[in-house]
Assembly symmetry: C2
Homo-oligomer: 246 residues x 2
Amino acid sequence: MTTTSRTKVTTCSVEYPADGLTMVGHLALPEGAGPRPAVLIGPEGPGLSDFQRRRADALAELGYVALVFDINGGRWFDDPAEMLAHVTPLLADPDRMRRIGHAALDVLRAEPRTDPDRIAAIGYGTGGAIALELGRDGVGLRGIGTVNALTTGRPGEAARIRCPVWAGVGSEDPIMPPVQREAFTAEMRAAGVDWRLVVYGGALHAFHHPTDGLTVLPGVGHHPVHARRAWRDVVGLLDEWVPVTE
Amino acid sequence: MTTTSRTKVTTCSVEYPADGLTMVGHLALPEGAGPRPAVLIGPEGPGLSDFQRRRADALAELGYVALVFDINGGRWFDDPAEMLAHVTPLLADPDRMRRIGHAALDVLRAEPRTDPDRIAAIGYGTGGAIALELGRDGVGLRGIGTVNALTTGRPGEAARIRCPVWAGVGSEDPIMPPVQREAFTAEMRAAGVDWRLVVYGGALHAFHHPTDGLTVLPGVGHHPVHARRAWRDVVGLLDEWVPVTE
């Protein structure tokens, strides 16, 4: 896992319709031919950024087909107020989240390099909430990993999750406070899900994301050390759930 | 990390005095010559078992000098009541735990293959509590990782911890219940320690340890899937804190 081979990665933008918008995802394909395990990557509320595009490229270097999906129709919300105006109703609407997730999953499944039996989802913030809703919709994923996305679903629906769930959160995150951690783990426990929770001590909300040049909400802050650890954790999860064997 | 090279490992028992007893540790040395990063491994309350000896051997295969220390003078307590009679007063006496830890650390440091500037400690149950007490005593370790050992120390002493701390626990562990998780993380937060907590959903106390043929306390139970994950987590921590570069 610590060895990154610098293989040749092919990337492209993918447009597809969802949520009444034209979404613009980022697809990264690993070197070689034939099917590979695949990763659906959910972005933060502001939208798909170069940060997440690089994540996809890094996973493709490790041998995965990786798609960062879009939630905002190709837009990046600089203004936190504008972002919240878009994201808050979305997070309150599991069916809408699922449609956005399914549209992205269809794109990933349609890619010839994707092995449809080996797909995992990881997501950050809003994109993590969407990944969890795919699980609560009973989608056959190999695992769901979220960072900064401890959202709970409609009562009872977590019992439809058919794969391991992993969640990471900052201990000082005021947007995902301890009461939300408790609600999330209570939901997972009640549903009999195979779950894990990692609390990164001292980290704020969205600690995984650099904030240089960005206007951020109170309670948001980058924690470079834990950000590296969370990425390493995610890479380890994928190696557990959808190992690259080719 | 998923690749284990089958290198030649040298092992031996090491006797040393501590706590009024003759302790019998297990030392595993990696192939090659010259100093290597080293790992102090703390065993569970019943004592040093083949399970932990194999952990040391596995770490030596990865390139570490590894010492499983002893807390019971070479004994393994089959009987949980006898084990508790020995361990309960020990866990209530930080100075005694520290003396046991220091004696083991001295053995590890005296090994010519050990690089004294690259020592990490991992511990399970009682052995984890001892590893934490070494931290609270200000010992210069590169990291402390514990599984099933969320013990808190004397007020204020956690501020002397000079390295990252990682702790893993089962969500259903009645011996380390949520209130103890809260106390531990509150101690780490107040002390400004670089900490992480992993909660393994559905796991009981000592979930990392096979229980075949053992008499175990109520609340103890093996969870093979999380056990593999926790071991993988520990190996990853060591790669972060004391990477093998030779």
